[in-house]
């Protein structure tokens, strides 16, 4: 899958390493998760309602099209969360766990 976003400037930032779906990737400090992902691949996730792939839409936290999850199940908007060293992201919705079980 080819990259969707193209970097035009600000390429001189330090590198940050994180995991995406179990694979290590490198991003630049200050990248949003969306930019870290879409400068490598063409989509963020699978739509739940059709065969289409989704790659975000509004970039301002309004459309919620760009959800990804941490390994522990916390949901993040890829457009408004920055990469951090050691972050472990999954792009498939984890099994729904009712948080007040028991």
């Amino acid at each position: 899958m080819s990259a969707r976003f193209v970097r035009l400037a600000e390429g001189e930032r330090p590198t940050v390493r994180l995991m995406v779906d179990g694979e290590p990737i490198e991003a630049l400090q200050g990248d949003t998760l969306m930019v870290a992902l879409l400068t490598r691949v063409s989509a963020l996730r699978q739509s739940e309602f059709d065969p289409g792939r989704r790659a975000g839409f509004c970039l301002m936290g309004a459309c919620q099209d760009c959800w990804v999850w941490t390994r522990s199940g916390e949901r993040l908007r890829a457009c408004s969360n920055e990469v951090r060293e050691g972050l472990d992201i999954v792009t498939r919705q984890p099994e729904a766990i009712w948080p007040l079980r028991g």
Partner: protein, 474 residues
């Protein structure tokens, strides 16, 4: 939150809460600080500036001219004002206000729920892109116009290798020219507004000749760079496939020719719509604004809503742009001070009102020059997606109007789920209302507007409290 109660409070004990740290929120805070009030400023973003003057993350090095172009000095001035205010206000970034009850806001900040009490609330919640669907807009690689701008401004990326800009409004030309200047490839700029609308709007646009000139300069830059620019187009389809996303955009020109532009990204937008959900939850009255053909907050000339103690300024009240937002922010602060029986110079109030009257005139001119393309909703193919969150088609929405008689948007939403998905109607409800109105054969203001619902944005179930509850559970 009666004004009567406000009057009885000491200035020090008064809890004034501003929501949003864009141009309106910042100027409002500044005016209140000057009067000796220390407001709480809640901001969903991580840094001040709002969307238009969004600050790039730490470690980015582009200068103001590169980032904000013709608006560089305004951006710098606003940021500097905020920096000076920083210690004199209670600024809480990364804080989403997701609901409210009279006197109290429900917030979530970094996974933690908090409440914030208020005596006076000033909503400076800004705007999002106003969208009209086009067949195929659900394909990956279609972004809102504002989103395309944020990609460039906040992250120094282009949304694609070849980008088509489609829609209408000043932002269309601004973002396209910013992409061009930053070295991105602009495949075409396609405006649904015909030239005659702009000519007809000239008298109103001349209210702000400087801005009109800036707009013409942007257009000239695009022509000089030999970017195909077409006015008065009818959008036809976004082409592509489910796996790889957008591959081309097809439009019909004003001469009736079909044109296709190959691209891997589309920036789509028709001006802006106000974020009114919190005002709606507070019970503030709305009104249908003829000139923009959308529902806006019904405020008095100074920013008081119909609910006492609740105020609004900037694009979150009605769309007038960033310059007007700065003035409206100052004015609403003066209005609040007046309600608190604080000394306010009549001349200061009058000055802001005079400036805003000019900006009103200009914003009406923009609505006239770049009209909302309501007719497109009527012409939308039955197979076209209206709700891109849950993939609901125009045909499905029309069928609930025809078969169930759901001629009101909230009722049609209940049957069709248009407006119920992840974006909570931000990107489909206006077009949805047009589809319903056309199917029902009534004017769009007759089908109502989608009610705000709490939470105004989806919340994660895994907040701190719930995590703790889980830990102590057997």
């Amino acid at each position: 939150m009666a004004t009567a109660r406000l009057k009885n409070l000491q200035k020090d004990a008064l809890r004034v809460v501003i929501v949003g740290a864009g141009p309106a929120g910042t100027r409002c805070a500044e005016t209140l600080v000057a009067a000796g009030i220390r407001p709480i400023l809640l901001d969903e973003n991580r840094r001040d500036g709002g969307q238009i003057y969004r600050r790039q993350p730490e470690g980015f090095t582009r200068d103001y001219a590169t980032l904000y172009g013709s608006e560089a000095e305004k951006a710098r001035a606003l940021h500097q004002s905020f920096d000076r205010l920083r210690e004199r206000i209670d600024y809480r970034p990364d804080t989403l206000v997701w609901s409210l009850t009279p006197g109290q806001l429900c917030c979530v900040s970094q996974g933690k729920h908090t409440t914030v009490d208020y005596d006076a609330l000033i909503l400076c919640t800004g705007a999002t892109d106003r969208l009209m669907p086009i067949e195929g807009w659900q394909l990956a690689g279609t972004y809102s116009l504002g989103g395309a701008q944020i990609a460039l401004k906040a992250q120094a990326v282009s949304i694609g290798r070849r980008v088509v800009f489609l829609g209408s409004g000043p932002l269309l030309y601004l973002v396209a020219s910013q992409y061009l200047k930053a070295g991105a490839t602009v495949a075409a700029v396609l405006d649904t507004s015909p030239l005659r609308k702009r000519i007809a709007a000239l008298p109103k646009l001349l209210a702000r000749p400087g801005l009109l000139f800036t707009g013409m300069k942007l257009l000239a830059q695009l022509y000089l760079a030999r970017i195909p620019v077409h006015l008065g187009v009818e959008p036809q389809q976004v082409l592509g496939d489910a796996a790889s996303g957008v591959s081309a955009v097809r439009v019909r020109t004003s001469h009736g020719d079909n044109l296709q532009f190959d691209c891997d990204a589309l920036a789509l937008g028709y001006h802006l719509r106000p974020e009114t959900q919190l005002a709606d939850l507070a019970g503030c009255r709305m009104r249908f604004q003829e000139v923009s053909q959308q529902w806006v907050l019904d405020t008095d000339g100074e920013g008081r809503t119909s609910v006492r103690g609740v105020y609004a300024a900037g694009d979150g009240a009605r769309i007038r742009g960033a310059d007007a937002a700065e003035h409206a922010g100052r004015l609403v602060a003066l209005a609040l001070l007046q309600d608190l029986q604080q000394p306010v110079h009549g001349e200061a109030l009058a000055l802001q009102r005079r400036v805003l009257a000019v900006m009103d005139e200009f914003s009406h001119g923009l609505c006239q020059a770049f009209p909302w393309p309501a007719a497109q909703a009527k012409a939308l193919a039955d197979e076209a997606i209206v709700c891109r969150c849950e993939m609901i088609t125009a045909g499905e929405l029309r069928s609930v109007v025809r078969e169930k008689g759901a001629c009101e948007v909230n009722r049609a939403k209940a049957f069709s789920r248009v407006g119920m998905g992840r974006c909570q109607g931000r990107y489909c409800s206006q077009a949805g209302a047009e589809v319903i109105a056309a199917a029902a054969g009534v004017a769009v203001e007759r089908v109502g507007r989608q009610r705000g619902q709490a939470p105004v944005k989806p919340l994660s179930m895994l907040t701190e409290e719930l995590k703790q509850a889980e830990e102590v559970a057997p």
